[in-house]
Point group: C2
Chain length 337, copies 2
């Protein structure tokens, strides 16, 4: 099978490993932000952040080689962050004819023209002619690239496409479960980044006070999972999905490492939220959980109205901390109630 991965970021590049290991013709295309990555991988050097070279069987394509990268391709992986989805789809244009499935690693929400907050996969489905497959589950890119055991969840309403993608991507060390609940997986995938900020605040309180706040962090964990389920259910997903790998599992790994957790940690140590966000954001890096918290809170409000604080106490507290300069510990602890 010919598989193109669009975006040579960490997760896009990491997915070259299971697909190349599966014997497929894998093309990794770098965006304008990936030129240093492309240069490195092209000469067999490691990916600058992942630390691993491209696996045998995968080839790398530069930003001006999108046409050749997509030629004859049957499956496309959108390997860019949520902010780059629009520009990359613009660049791709009508080159996706013949593609049957488009998988996405981007996590977040889109605001549709009528102001509705929806999973990014809705936007993608609107713009491409292929079946959309969401990827959820705990999956740190550096471990995927190094063939460490990883179990993910592919989600699509198209059962036949789901089977094809499962068979194409699964290896001995990259297990692919499947679910028809695309909404549940996408809500969990987006919101786990937001909730990781909240749980990261407990890590920051540990730094600020010199004393672990593990009990607090653990108390927030099931609240986060419950609220993710409520949000998913509110827009037509299965609330149970978040109890599995895409919700609880992915949140578990997201609070172990990554920028969302670090944002929370900074805030927990006393750095004002807007300053912490600014310090972690640059031209080509964003904090997906910050955007997800904002969009998720708006979505929760649209579902709950005046009851949003009761229905989503943790998300409401997080939103107040991130956007309204609410006192950090008091606001978070009041949410535990």
């Amino acid at each position: 099978m010919r598989i193109a991965i669009l975006g040579a970021g960490d997760m896009g590049t990491a997915l070259a490993t299971p697909t190349a290991d599966g014997g497929h013709d894998v093309r990794l295309w770098g965006t304008a932000y990936d030129s240093a990555v492309v240069d490195a991988l092209r000469v067999g050097a490691p990916h600058p952040r992942l630390g691993t070279p491209l696996p045998a069987g995968a080839r790398v394509f530069a930003v001006d080689e999108l046409g050749p990268a997509l030629a004859g391709v049957e499956v496309v992986v959108l390997g860019v962050t949520s902010y780059a989805i629009g520009p990359v789809l613009n660049a791709v244009g009508d080159k996706l004819r013949g593609v049957s499935a488009i998988l996405t690693v981007a996590k977040g929400f889109d605001e549709s023209d009528d102001g509705r907050i929806r999973p990014l996969t809705d936007l993608i489905a609107e713009r491409v002619p292929a079946a959309v497959v969401g990827i959820g589950g705990p999956s740190k890119a550096n471990e995927v690239a190094r063939r460490r055991p990883t179990a993910v969840l592919f989600a699509s309403s198209d059962a036949a496409i789901l089977r094809i993608c499962h068979d194409a991507f699964e290896t001995e060390v990259y297990r692919v479960g499947t679910t028809p609940d695309l909404i549940g997986v996408e809500v969990a995938a987006a919101m786990k980044n937001a909730y990781a900020i909240a749980l990261g605040i407990a890590d920051g309180l540990q730094i600020a006070t010199g004393m672990p706040h593990h009990n607090l962090r653990a108390a927030l964990f099931p609240m986060a999972v419950r609220e993710m389920g409520r949000l998913a259910g509110g827009i037509g997903g299965d609330p149970e999905t978040v109890s599995g790998p895409a919700g609880a599992g992915d949140l578990q790994v997201t609070i172990t490492a990554g920028r969302n957790r670090i944002l929370g940690e900074l805030i927990g140590t006393g750095v004002p939220a807007e300053e912490a966000v600014r310090s972690l954001t640059s031209a080509d890096t964003t904090i997906e959980g910050y955007a997800a918290a904002k969009a998720g809170y708006r979505l929760a409000t649209s579902l709950s109205g005046a009851g949003v604080t009761a229905d989503y106490p943790l998300l409401s507290a997080l939103s107040a901390i991130l956007l309204d300069r609410a006192p950090v510990f008091d606001t978070l602890w009041a949410a535990v109630g």
Copy 2:
């Protein structure tokens, strides 16, 4: 209110803090194993393991002062590990007349005379005339003793007693939720220790290979929660309880620190299970998760028969690793399947 805490171990002693802060007359009684603790606390020194002295309002009683410790007491906390429940109840004898509630921090299973595996609270209820209250939720003792924010869950079928205990124990930093689902809380409280061994194995694989296994650990997390729910439901509890603080929340904190996680870590680095268990066990310390894994697996088998591997894949793998010298990584990873 007069409250006696039986056992001056970490958690028993820690509970002197919220109760003394609540203005109660708190008596902490040390068992024969606690004489060094009693001696230290009596002169105002810190608890040797917790690192904190007894809070104002709490008094300490030595092993031969059980009578005075229990005089006029209305609420008793059983602050000993599962192995010590029987001996302590023997020592207490008929001194619990007038006690309306007995709370227990011990986590585990008991085998009744007819060979049935049951929560320890069933054994306690059989032997004491008071209402039994289980304590669940993420609650590291050192944080409770230091008044770090902690949210727990009290469980009892007796709603009036539950209310009394809630009011007696809750403080600004020690939040007490309540549930009638004693079985669900007790199964989760016992089994989270067992599953923490399984997740700890991923930490050991990191040490053994020099490479994080966070994806694996996170993949195991929702499996553990799901199996705890199935087990609770199988003996009359509410499977949903495990999604909350007593299941997912407590598992979250248990995989952060503690002996159960360390047992898994040792096994993950390649130490044979029986040797790892031996190295962590001594006269007055036990690994509650090891006993819970054995009893839990027997309970799961009694509920599932030949289908135990399908219904409880992670617990089955853990049991095979702990008891049957099954190859560690292959067995664990096959369970994710």
